[in-house]
Structure formats: structure tokens, C-alpha cells
């Protein structure tokens, strides 16, 4: 989230699109209800299904899944055509006037530099024109034909309300009502909050879905504003923590990058990460990258990371591919190239796409280790459960180690929520049986590995035998010890910002004190401030909220630097006065920035210095056009899902998103609309949390059995009865479920033809207390978003028919 949960109560318009907040985030949704009840907010829901969120919406607009970019580009076009922009914000705080270099082009659905064989772009031309002064050229009048605003207008010109209706199936009148309501927030007095989740990310162009709304919100001047922002609602209680701590194959903590093969030494790695400002005087905060990186290396390898050995740069793996994400991982396992897997707190057999491929991959592995508090399907992938898991155990040789872990209530530690809060929690009860914490298990594995390397040597044992491991109990580091490392500390005396020397061995106050000379160590720079010399700030529980801004600065700790609303400098005009007194977050008092939140800006940097509010960006402004930072294009473009009921109307030759990744076998495993005419989508229900709560009796009572949802029209066409059994199948697999026949799903009229939606909730499996069932991953295609490799769980094709119950089911 750019803002925070409580902030939503200040919104005037709330758009839930690409998510179903009432259903998947019922507790956080209270702030939407609050905004409606006490801020007279209007709630817009755009979704293929009339969801529980829609049930309390002021305006519901249907949309075909996988067409959000067309819809939102249509909104952006409406705003520009009808002059509903926050003009000064767009002019000063966005790159609308930046001139793009010659050679950049978009035609026939492709940007300049496309290589069809590699399914990738040469992004050289995706950049600004650089002037003789070394800075990007800007035309403040926004009239230059190659300036971003003009390119944007041209790029989205095709998305007329009529085109939106043809592609999305959203009725033109309803679409225009959505546009009108959103447009009211172009006034500085009004803001819109955009709430989204996996309904946007689970697509082959998921990142660009989000980009589309970023453009809309920037045009409306809603970023950095109270009650505005891009509110990414995280799906797990600590999934924010997962990304913050870099649990991705290509990241290290704090959104730093793991080196790639082309960066054989530290000099070549850091040269690409200088992040010099693209405009005079801009902050470009990532210029401090080396300080964060060196401090990370010092935390990892302590005295073994020195200036002379490039801070142990050689100890880091160098990626030979962009990412070893889960889709690639299981592709390699299927090919017999990845032979072991440690599974910590997730259930890949019932999560990742194409379950048949998952089963095949697991069956080829030598071993898997499953660390989980629950009996997961993954740990039993080899066990025959009739129709639900029809495998032959005699043909599977994979060795499975099940290690029971503690649950979050059985341990202390911190969880990072969508608001970027690190909230400390305390142990509530002892764990049963032989459970151990994940920390203890991983420590045990590491220490034994280290011994083995010490004893037997190996190709390159240094990174493992030299890892700093100075915890009081090596077998069981405490969460407090780890938290102190996340915050960072001095390893040698070092001056702070005022020149005062901080002695060695002190917790730093924040990331501003981190150094690139080896005098500081820090595991995750953005978490710096969470455990200072003053103590554990994550454990703070003061909900005092001056000004009723929803800020509560002394509740827990928010990264970065306890800042609650990112880009909050943009809540003021260029002179430093709040755009709206009602929406005030910070202001310039003539000497410094003061207010309710920690300024996202130099505290004493005067407004007349012309420093932009988006201090992380080299431009200092928000990007309507993203240069070469996205693999699949600097503007979002509508592409159909890889399995789609219809052709791409604007660019009929293009199937799927051109830069999204798909492996050869998976491409052959795609079905088409002739055999699979219905548009499927998957989602969560409020009664369950993923696959966990099917193990809990009460949740099992509240939603006991798997079902699919279809319209009354499709049910009639297929002879399907309410509560009857249906079979749903794709090119990759088949499942059975009960049919919920509902008015809440209606056929969408796209390009004059009806598209039927089949909705498949995702909570059932062959373990647990609920009735046994299937997960939609039996059907989903293996294709990943170009930037994140997130699978396309939200839009694919199926067929459906009435069927008989599974052999052991209750009729």
C-alpha cells in the first residue's frame, strides 16, 4: 500500500477492482464501510462477478476477466478528453512533459525492439531524450509530439467507451458512470483510493494492470494524498514481509537485486545502480544503493566481507536466467534437473498451475522437505485419494520429510501487513508435540550443512562456512536477535549525519546512518528503525492519532522510517501548502516540513528548491511512462489472456501478452475457445483462508464443499441444476464440484457475443475436515507475468457439463 488501511476512511471514492476486499479482507474492509458511513464515500466495484464487495457498492460494473487494461485505459482517455485532470499535479509531479527519444514507437500492438523468438524486447529506445546538460528534456507545455502526455493520448486513443464495451463486456452507460465518479476526484479536495489484490496480479500482464491504475491515479492527483493511493491488499498476514525480505529468487532484502552472470564483479554490479538524477537537483534516493548493499554483506559475512574482497561479492550466487521462480522451478523438476525441494509454509501441489504437471514434477524429485503446521496435500502428493488424487504410490520413489512447525500463535516475532507496518506479536501458547519453529529447523539444516562443508570441503565452501552466525544459541536464534539485525548496527565507530561518532556495536536509528565503508551492518535497509537503541519499535501499541488522520505514528513501526503515507510531499502544492486543508498530511512552515506524518522528503529542503516529491525516482516525479523499467512496455496495452474466448480486437494477430513467459510444453498445453468456450476465473471465499482453514471445524461448517459458480443462462443451456454435480475441464485437467447457479454472474456481451464466466473458488483439497474436492489449479495454464512470473490464475478457458458425484461423495 502507498497509504494504509486506516487511511481508506478518508477516501471520497473507493474503487475495488482486481480484488474483492469484503470477501478476502473483511477486517480491513471496515475502513471502506467507515468511509461510506462517515465520509459519504461512494464505492465502485468492477468485477466479472457480483461479489460480496459489490453487495455494498454504490456502483457495480461487470468486466470480462483479463481486460482491465482496456477498461482503465478507457478511463484515462475519458479523463483527458473531458479535461478531468488535476492539472498542476500532472504538470509538476508527473513525467507528462518529458520528451521521449527518437526511435521509440508503438505499432500493431508491439513496442519498438521486439524479438519474437526471445519473446522479449530490446528496450534501448524506451528512454527520455537527454539534453546537452545531461538531463532529460522536458517540455512544460506538454505539446512536444514526443512528450509523454502526447504519446499517452495517442497510445490510449483506441480505448473509446464503445471499444471498452466490445472488449470488456462492460455496458457503455455503466462504464461512463464509473468514469464520471472517478473524475470527481480530479478536484484537490477529493480523493479516490484504489483497492486491488490478486485479481490484478494473477494475469500474464498483472504488473501492467496495476500500472494502468497508477496512470489514472496520477492524472487525478491522488497519489501521496490522504484517502488516495494505490492500496495493494496483501493476501497473507506476512506476505508483505516476504517481498520486503526478498524471498524471491532474484532479490535480496529491501528490494535490492541479486547479481546476474553479466555482473561478474562488484564494480560491474554497482555501476548499473548509480541512479544519477535525471533532472537537476533531484534526490534519486536509490543513489544510496551501495550503502544498503555493503551493509547487507557485512551482516551476512561480518569480518569476511571487506573492502579488499569487494564486500564478499563473490559469495553471492549470480543468476544465469532472470528468475528461478516457481514456474521455472517445476519446469526444471519436470525435466529432472531440480531434484530436491524444501517447502516452507506453502502447499505447491494445490497452488501452482497445472496440477498434473506438479504431480509429475514431484514424482521425479529425489526428495522433498515439507515444513508446515498442517498436513498438506503436497506432503501427500504420492498418496492415492481416489478421484481426488489418483496416483499410484508404487510408481513414486520421492522421499518425503514432513517437519511439523509452530504456528504464528505459538511463537513471537513480527508480521508485516499491507500498511507496511511491522507489528510485533507474542507467543500465545506452546506448540504441540514435536513442532519446532521455522527458525530452529532452518538453523539445524544450516549448521549441519556447514559441518559437512568444513569436513568434506567442496567446490566453493566459503559462502557457507564464513556466514556470520553469532547468535547466543546457534541452534535457535531468537526473533529478537534477528530483528536487531534487520534494523542494523555499527560494526566500527562511524559518524552520524551530524558528525557525532556512534561507537561500535550500537543499533542504528535508521537507514540514513548506513555506510558503504563497512562500518555498518543491516539485513534489510527498509526495516531500519524497527529495533533501535531505544528498543523494539514494532512492539509499540499507542493508538493516539493526532488530527484523526488515521496515522497513529506510535503504533508499531512502518517502513520506511515510520512513514505511513508514501509520497506524502505530493499532498502539498509545489509551494508547500496542502492541496486541501481537509486532507493535510504535512506542510512547509517556512523552515521545515511538519505535520501528521513523517515527511517523504528532506525535512529542511525548501519548496523553492524544485525537488520532486517522488524521491526514489531518478526524475523526482511520478511516471506515466516507465522508460525501460518494465519488461513488457512503457505503457500498459490490452492483450488477451493466453487462453481467451475471443481474439484481441485492436491487435488481432497478437495472442497473449508478447513478453510474458511461457515454456514450450506449456504453450502446447493451451486450449482454444472451440473446445473450451467458457471464461474461467479463480478466487477466494471469505469463509476460508486458502487451504489452511479447511482443517478448522468451524470454517468447514461455514463452507463445507467445493463448488463452481455459473449464470442461470449457462445452467439452462447446459442442463445444470442448482446444487447438482458438474464436471469442469480444461486442456490440462478436470474437476468435479457442486454448481451454484446465480444471478450474480451474467453472460458478458463482448463484441456482440455472449461470454459465459465460470467461477471456481480455491479452498478445497484431499486433506482436512471439509468435504474433499479439487483446487482450480487442476485446470490453470502455466504462464507467467512478464515482470513477476505470477501465474495467470484469473483468466483461462474451460468447458462444463452436468455429471455424477465422485464415488465417495454424498449425493
Amino acid at each position: 500500500m502507498t497509504n494504509l488501511w486506516m487511511d481508506i476512511k478518508h477516501a471520497d471514492v473507493i474503487t475495488v477492482m482486481g480484488g474483492n476486499a469484503a470477501e478476502a479482507h473483511p477486517c480491513g474492509f471496515k475502513w471502506v464501510v467507515e468511509a461510506k458511513a462517515h465520509n459519504n464515500a461512494k464505492l465502485i466495484v468492477v468485477d466479472p462477478r457480483f461479489t460480496r464487495t459489490a453487495s455494498v457498492a454504490d456502483l457495480y460494473c461487470p468486466i470480462r476477466q483479463g481486460t482491465d487494461i482496456a477498461f482503465l485505459s478507457g478511463v484515462a482517455k475519458y479523463l483527458i478528453d473531458n479535461d478531468k485532470l488535476q492539472h498542476r499535479y500532472v504538470a509538476v509531479y508527473s513525467n507528462a512533459g518529458y520528451v521521449v527519444r527518437e526511435g521509440y514507437d508503438f505499432s500493431e500492438g508491439l513496442f519498438a525492439g521486439y524479438d519474437a523468438d526471445k519473446r522479449d524486447y530490446d528496450k534501448t529506445t524506451w528512454d527520455y531524450e537527454i539534453g546537452p546538460d545531461g538531463y532529460a528534456v522536458v517540455d512544460e507545455t506538454m505539446q512536444h509530439p514526443r512528450c509523454v502526455m502526447q504519446l499517452l493520448k495517442k497510445h490510449i486513443a483506441i480505448y473509446t467507451p464503445e471499444m471498452v464495451e466490445r472488449i470488456c463486456g462492460s455496458p457503455k452507460e455503466t462504464f461512463l458512470k464509473v468514469c464520471e465518479l472517478m473524475a470527481t476526484t480530479s478536484s484537490p479536495e477529493r480523493t479516490m483510493a484504489s483497492l486491488y489484490a490478486l485479481g490484478w496480479t494473477h494475469h500474464s500482464k498483472g504488473s501492467q494492470n496495476i500500472r494502468s491504475m497508477c496512470i489514472v491515479q496520477t492524472l487525478l492527483g491522488n497519489i501521496g494524498m490522504l484517502g488516495g493511493g494505490m492500496q495493494a491488499l496483501r493476501g497473507h498476514s506476512n506476505i508483505q514481509g516476504l517481498t520486503d525480505l526478498g524471498l524471491m529468487s532474484n532479490l535480496i532484502p529491501g528490494y535490492l537485486n541479486l547479481p546476474v552472470e553479466k555482473e561478474p564483479d562488484y564494480a560491474s554490479y554497482i555501476a548499473k545502480r548509480q541512479f544519477k538524477p535525471l533532472r537537476p537537483g533531484q534526490t534519486s534516493y536509490w543513489q544510496n544503493y551501495n550503502k544498503f548493499f555493503v551493509s547487507f554483506q557485512k551482516m551476512m559475512w561480518g569480518e569476511h566481507a571487506t573492502k579488499d574482497n569487494d564486500w564478499a561479492y563473490d559469495y553471492l550466487p549470480k543468476l544465469d536466467v532472470p528468475t528461478y521462480d516457481v514456474l521455472r522451478g517445476f519446469e526444471l523438476a519436470k525435466q529432472g534437473k531440480m531434484t530436491g525441494y524444501i517447502i516452507q509454509g506453502f502447499n505447491p501441489l494445490m497452488t501452482f498451475p497445472n496440477r498434473a504437471k506438479m504431480t509429475e514434477a514431484f514424482s521425479k524429485m529425489k526428495f522433498i522437505v515439507v515444513m508446515d503446521p498442517l498436513k498438506t496435500e503436497t506432503a501427500r502428493f504420492w498418496e492415492n485419494h481416489g478421484e481426488y488424487n489418483d496416483v499410484d504410490p508404487t510408481q513414486i520413489q520421492t522421499e518425503v520429510f514432513e517437519l511439523p512447525t509452530t504456528l504464528f500463535v505459538e511463537e513471537e516475532g513480527s508480521l508485516s501487513n499491507s500498511s507496511r507496518w511491522l507489528q510485533w506479536h507474542w507467543q500465545a501458547q506452546e506448540a504441540p508435540g514435536e513442532c519446532r519453529s521455522d527458525i530452529e529447523i532452518m538453523s539445524g539444516i544450516f549448521l549441519r550443512m556447514k559441518e559437512a562443508y568444513k569436513k568434506d570441503g567442496g567446490a566453493f565452501p566459503d559462502a557457507i562456512v564464513n556466514l556470520k552466525w553469532d547468535y547466543a544459541m546457534a541452534e535457535s536464534p531468537t526473533p529478537t536477535e534477528l530483528a536487531r539485525e534487520l534494523n542494523g548496527y555499527t560494526v566500527a565507530p562511524t559518524p552520524d549525519l551530524n558528525g557525532t561518532i556512534i561507537p561500535a556495536g550500537k543499533q542504528v536509528d535508521g537507514f540514513a546512518q548506513l555506510k558503504d565503508d563497512g562500518t555498518t551492518a543491516c539485513a534489510c535497509w527498509i526495516y531500519s528503525g524497527c529495533y533501535t537503541e531505544k528498543g523494539n519499535t514494532m512492539a509499540r501499541r499507542d493508538n493516539t492519532d493526532p488530527g484523526d488522520r488515521g496515522i497513529a505514528p506510535n503504533w508499531a513501526f512502518a517502513w520506511p522510517a515510520n512513514r505511513r503515507v508514501l509520497y506524502n510531499r505530493a499532498s502539498c502544492d509545489p509551494e508547500g501548502r496542502p492541496w486541501s486543508e481537509k486532507k493535510k498530511l504535512i506542510e512547509w512552515n517556512g523552515k521545515q516540513w511538519i505535520g501528521f506524518d513523517v515527511p517523504d522528503y528532506g525535512v529542511t529542503v525548501a519548496p523553492d528548491k524544485g525537488v520532486g516529491p517522488f524521491i526514489l525516482n531518478q526524475e523526482g516525479v511520478a511516471r506515466l511512462w516507465t522508460r525501460g523499467l518494465m519488461r513488457d512496455g512503457p505503457f500498459p496495452t490490452h492483450y488477451e489472456p493466453f487462453e481467451s474466448p475471443m481474439a484481441n480486437i485492436p491487435f488481432p494477430k497478437i495472442k497473449g501478452a508478447p513478453a510474458a513467459r511461457i515454456f514450450k510444453d506449456d504453450l502446447a498445453d493451451l486450449g482454444d475457445a472451440k473446445d473450451f468456450p467458457y471464461a474461467a476465473t479463480s478466487y477466494r471465499l471469505t469463509e476460508h483462508f486458502h487451504g489452511w482453514t479447511k482443517h478448522a471445524r468451524i470454517n468447514a461448517i461455514l463452507q463445507p464443499e467445493a463448488f463452481v459458480e455459473i449464470s442461470e443462462e449457462l445452467a439452462k443451456e447446459k442442463g445444470i441444476t442448482k446444487g447438482g454435480w458438474v464436471r469442469v475441464w480444461s486442456k490440462r485437467g478436470s474437476l468435479k464440484a457442486k454448481a451454484v447457479v446465480t444471478k450474480r454472474i451474467k453472460p458478458l456481451i463482448c463484441d456482440g457475443k455472449p461470454v459465459h464466466v465460470v467461477g471456481i473458488p480455491q479452498h478445497w483439497g484431499f486433506m482436512g475436515l471439509t468435504k474433499k474436492g479439487w483446487h482450480p489449479n487442476s485446470l490453470t495454464p502455466v504462464v507467467g507475468d512478464a515482470n513477476t512470473e505470477t501465474p495467470e490464475f484469473k483468466a483461462w478457458l474451460v468447458n462444463i457439463e452436468p455429471t455424477t458425484p465422485p464415488s465417495d461423495a454424498v449425493a
Binding site: 474492509f29 461455514l702 442448482k722 444471478k743 454424498v810
Partner: protein
């Protein structure tokens, strides 16, 4: 049974003694704002947790309602109705939390023949005192909202207690505590009526011209009230009675018939004794039982009630 004593009791079933009602407590009420409800079932979950109830794990019947109906182990549940509003052409998903309404004039209490099996406290809560319950099912017949359920295990009647045990110690009912959106509120009845007025005003400003408070006069008002978008058509909400009243049969049984009945009972007892001695025990013929059920069904249709989940009720 709650932490109340006889001092708190306003009415007691089948009892000739006048309850003392020495402690005059302020009337409480639960306000369920249907327009804020997202149907998350946290209230159902909290009810099962607090009251330590665990219903059976059922099946899906093509709807979101689970369990499908109130049971002796499910004292509240969300009932989901898909409604296409003919005026606006909009689809509305009306989600109502069903459960005991805690009537000011409780039909169950009036109908109950067992002394002290049903009581009403001076704060308005209607409670079943299971140890006094004889499992006759008259409360089921007496209830205009189709709420009480008879357990097959112990043959006692069960329903929502409005968490009388929590309320007695100053806590809100578990469902209100758990509700994430503030759709379920709890307080004095007066405060809840005032709260409802602000909600109705808001709903009217959003185009729901007939928004209003459901606090039906036919049962003397209730201590569970709803804010409805369509207060002119309560039956849209999974058969919420438009104008609930205590069944005339119960009124008759408790009214003039009672005096006459008591005399008749004396006579019947004597006559019965002689009949038993001369003719042996009497048995109910199955046809008679069916007729009784049919009569009951017809009666229910007449009063505009439906059983939302379509589940046949326990006798």
C-alpha cells in the same frame, strides 16, 4: 442460562406468579444494519465459538447459506437472497443475519406450557431455561419468526440467547463483537433506534427511498432490529415476516381458552382415567400426524413466512 436471577425476570412462561422485576434494567437491543453486512459469517463463527457449539459439516446445496437452516447447534446464520430490483434494474444481494428477534411480546413464551422454561429479563432478552424445557415444541409453533429448534439429542429447545451471559456482565454479544464492518451493533434500545435513524438517512441519500428500521409492532417491537434498504418489503430478505404476529391459536390458548381449559383438563383427567381403565391407551394414527403438519404448513404460508433454507424443520 445467564447470570441473571429471578430479580431480573419480567415474564416467565406458564407461571401464575407475578415476576418481581425488582431490577428494572434499561432495555437493550442488537441492531443489524443489513446495508453494511458483507455476509462474511464472522457472526456465525463467533456464535459457535462463544457458545461452544459445533454443528455438522454439511454439503453445498447450490447456495452460500451454510448451515442451510437454524439448528439446535446453529443459533444464527446468514441468509442470502439475490434480488433484481424492478425499479432500478440493479441486482442486489440481500444478506440477512437470521436468529432470535427477542420480541417484547414473545410468542414462544406465551405458547410455552412449562413453567419457567422461557423467561424474559427486564432488559428485554428472551432466554430459554433448558432445565425447565419439556421439549413439547410449542415455542416453535408460537414463534412468528420460525426460530426455536428442538434438539434430537436431549429434546430441549434452543435458540440465540442474545449472549445473555455476556450482556449480564456488560459485554456485547459475541456476534456484535466479531462483526468486522460494524454491521451488528449493540446498546440500549433507544441508542440503537437513534443509530438506525442516521443509517436510514444515509441510505435514502443513496437512492433507497424505502429504507427504514424493522422493529415490528405486531410483537410489541423487538430487541433485535434490522436496518433494511427496503423496509416496505421485509419479506424480500429471505422471508422476514412483513407483519409478524403471535399466532391466533397461541393467543386463544393463552386467553379465554386457558380458564376454560384448566377446568376441562380436570374433567379430562378424570374422564381419561376411566377411559384408560375401560378402553386402554390411545395412539396417534400417522394420518393424524400428517394432517397436523399440513395444517401448520398452511398456517405458515398464510402468515407470509418461509423457511429460508428450504430445510424441513425438526418437529
Amino acid at each position: 442460562m445467564a447470570d441473571y436471577s429471578s430479580l431480573d425476570i419480567r415474564q416467565r412462561s406458564a407461571s401464575t406468579e407475578t415476576p418481581p422485576e425488582i431490577r428494572r434494567q434499561v432495555e437493550v437491543a442488537k441492531l443489524i444494519d443489513v446495508s453494511k453486512c458483507i455476509g462474511c459469517k464472522a457472526c456465525q463463527s463467533a456464535c459457535e465459538e462463544w457458545n461452544d457449539l459445533r454443528d455438522d459439516i454439511g454439503i453445498n446445496r447450490g447456495v452460500y447459506d451454510n448451515p442451510h437452516d437454524l439448528t439446535p447447534k446453529s443459533w444464527t446464520l446468514m441468509r442470502f437472497t439475490e434480488y433484481e430490483n424492478p425499479e432500478t434494474q440493479n441486482l442486489e444481494w440481500l444478506i440477512r443475519k437470521d436468529g432470535c428477534m427477542h420480541c417484547t411480546e414473545p410468542g414462544c413464551l406465551k405458547a410455552c406450557p412449562s413453567p419457567g422454561a422461557i423467561v424474559q429479563y427486564s432488559n428485554g432478552i428472551v432466554d430459554f431455561i433448558e432445565e425447565n424445557c419439556i421439549g413439547c415444541g410449542y415455542c416453535v409453533k408460537g414463534c412468528p419468526f420460525n426460530i426455536p429448534r428442538i434438539s434430537q439429542t436431549d429434546h430441549k429447545a434452543y435458540k440465540c440467547t442474545l449472549c445473555s451471559d455476556r450482556v449480564a456482565v456488560g459485554q456485547a454479544p459475541a456476534c456484535a463483537k466479531a462483526c468486522p464492518t460494524g454491521s451488528i451493533m449493540f446498546g440500549t434500545k433507544q441508542a440503537m433506534i437513534e443509530q438506525a435513524e442516521t443509517r436510514v438517512e444515509d441510505l435514502k441519500s443513496r437512492g433507497f427511498q424505502h429504507a427504514g428500521l424493522y422493529d415490528p409492532a405486531g410483537v410489541g417491537g423487538t430487541h433485535v432490529m434490522y436496518v433494511l434498504h427496503h423496509a416496505d418489503q421485509p419479506s424480500l430478505y429471505a422471508g422476514l415476516p412483513n407483519d409478524p404476529k403471535i399466532s391466533p391459536l397461541v393467543a386463544f390458548w393463552k386467553g379465554g381458552a386457558k380458564v376454560f381449559g384448566l377446568a376441562a383438563m380436570g374433567f379430562a383427567a378424570v374422564a381419561g382415567f376411566f377411559h384408560y381403565v375401560t378402553a386402554g391407551p390411545n395412539e396417534v394414527v400417522p394420518e393424524e400426524e400428517e394432517e397436523a403438519v399440513e395444517y401448520d404448513e398452511a398456517k405458515r404460508r398464510e402468515t407470509g413466512r418461509e423457511t429460508g433454507g428450504g430445510e424441513a424443520r425438526p418437529h
